[in-house]
Symmetry: C2
Subunit: 95 residues, 2 copies
């Protein structure tokens, strides 16, 4: 059965969020981090990117529903949305 246009658009957005090496690396760091979340202040140094670039990529991952963002004091903390990576993987199985 052919995927309808609207559904295809929705799924393509999820893959677009993953289609960047820096975003994949950010996800891997957050995934390896504590359940309480990883401070944005710990995400710039390992990637050797500036804060605005890292914030740009993090926003795309949050908008795609892959990361959860929580402001605590001065800093924002990022954690994986439970099940989101598995759900995206499932989009491939159900093509």
């Amino acid at each position: 059965m052919i995927l309808n246009a609207e559904d295809a658009q929705q799924r393509a957005l999820a893959f677009k969020a993953l289609a960047d090496p820096n975003r994949l690396r950010l996800l891997s760091i957050v995934k390896a981090g504590s359940d309480g979340g990883t401070c944005v202040c710990d995400l710039t140094e390992p990637l050797d990117l500036g804060q605005p670039t890292v914030s740009h990529h993090l926003k795309i991952l949050v908008d795609a529903g892959l990361l959860h963002r929580e402001k605590r004091g001065t800093w924002a903390y990022y954690s994986l949305v439970p099940g989101a990576l598995e759900q995206t993987a499932g989009l491939l199985a159900s093509l």
Copy 2:
């Protein structure tokens, strides 16, 4: 553990191939088609796209290792590379 830069680059390419609604729809048609492959002549009409656009998208899917292309007579036939979608899904699990 943080994904290294080279590995991240490689994985991002696979997701880039999937980050387009027309390519997802092409994959869904080929997946639903016969094991012997789907003729390119049957791929333009359902998507309402011109032949050059469809060929462009198919080339990206072949280059990403998701589709196999075989020329038979006048037409090219496309089939899923066995296990390729599952392998791409696995890239998410192993981030």
